[in-house]
Amino acid sequence: MSAIPAVKIRSAARAIDVARVRADFPILETKVNGKPLAYLDSAASAQMPQQVIDRLTRYHTSEHANIHRGVHYLSEKATDAYEAARAKIRKFINATEDREVIFTRGTTNAINTVAHGFGRAFVGKGDEILVSHMEHHSNIVPWQMLCEEKGATLKVIPIDDLGQLVMDEYRELLGPRTKLVAVAHVSNALGTINPIKEVIALAHAQGIPVLVDGAQGVPHMKVDMQDLDCDFYAFSGHKMCGPTGIGILYGKASWLEKMQPYEGGGDMIMSVSFEKTTYNTIPYKFEAGTPPIAAAIGLGAAVDYLESIGMDAISAHEHNLIAYGTEALSAIDGVRIYGTAPHKAAVLSFNIEGVHAHDVGTILNDEGVAVRTGHHCAQPVMQRFGVPATARASFYLYNTVEEIDQLVAAVRRVQEIFG
């Protein structure tokens, strides 16, 4: 194996004690084929620390009842915990008000809520929605469906060979017909961190609102709604050490007030008669039915956990891992990395010459290495780079340099097998 150059450690943030962090994640002790698991698939779903698991257990053991309903002890306890989680998340993303934080089923559900509520109110025939070429399908398909229904047009900001937005083209595409810009904070397939503040400012200069798909943003870096000034920001709990089935739609109150609810039902109403229904205020207008209460509280616990480590420390740790991993994989002949922007999150998308990504994934699994293989729900990105699929290693706070070494050895094993 070729020597891997030492990587300069960022000193700005306090370093993570990875061994201590790993002790919080019991699942990382898993053995796969007798080998230690190297879980390099956090961009698909991150693992939960014991603190979150314990919080879920405590809720189920001693706090569960339906929220916003009963006057009894447990209902009030559950309601308090649910609303406390909302407040924690509000603070975590520095939104102005709790009512701007809507619990959803996840990022996809959050984006669809906007596509429905904003789209039906503000998008009409001949209008344009602007997305980028690096979007996840969940930030493409809802807009396509809306455009089809409204006779609007979906426009695409191109990306360059490094996997970055072509900002000059973006400026050109913004125009009087543009009703919304919907762009990822961080690309799930390429790892590119977009200059999202600039994207937002340019749109706002023309009075155009912006939705940010933050599924790969919030888990990995400090995000500040007031500083970004975005109109909508969507993310998922399970990519940030929380449970599945819960996510957040942040929206500026001024927009949310004007939007139609996505679903009708219980909890989202003020009053109902057969003649007329008056909707509840935000955020409840967008939280029809009994929400995943436990998952919401679990997400609050995940926020506590991430804050106890420190988002700057997490970013710095991931920066070291991606630098190390990029150097190590680049040093192997026949490995191509997709997404080589200078400003990148901890996502390493690659292919081994002459080997399909699925064969790579199966053999890596034999070596205990878990990566995602496929198109990563970003087929336009795959088309842009002319490949059917890639293997994707993604890193989080609990990953180590040794796990990247394990990945590198496994990649060499694939090359051995395929000669």
């Binding site: 699925h358 795959m382 000669g419």
Partner: protein
Amino acid sequence: MKSKQLYQEVILDHNKKPRNWGHLDAPSHKAEGLNPLCGDHIWVSLNVADDRVAEIAFEGQSCAICKASASMMTTKVKGKRVDEAEQLVDEFRGMTTGSLDASQQNHLGHLTVFEGVKDLPSRVKCAVLPWHTLHAALHAEASTSTEGEEDPVPGSGIAASGS
């Protein structure tokens, strides 16, 4: 099951040098198989004469498991009667989904190298796709397009047509 056992010499060889690669100019039967989950995408074309598979070819873009399975399938069914080919489809499907024990009487021969795929659920579709595509092609009524009608694998797109 370790995939090392799956990625045996014979599979790696067929992946590297697929047999009957390409397409027939005027096939009596053809079908397209797509696994949208992983992006495997193949075309199988064949000429059936006197109820036998006289010629068969395949091409496409796929992983090693799918390509080797397709390659070995073409060598296996060439010259066979249509009902024999259909029986092989059934047996191959049975072996890779665990309902047929490869040590019992069967006609699969070398194709039993794919037996291990039954322990890799995410890869079963890769191995079976060529066979389902063959099945779809054989089921296409000559001179009738059955596009959209024949989908033996739920969740995968297989379109067949006869000409």
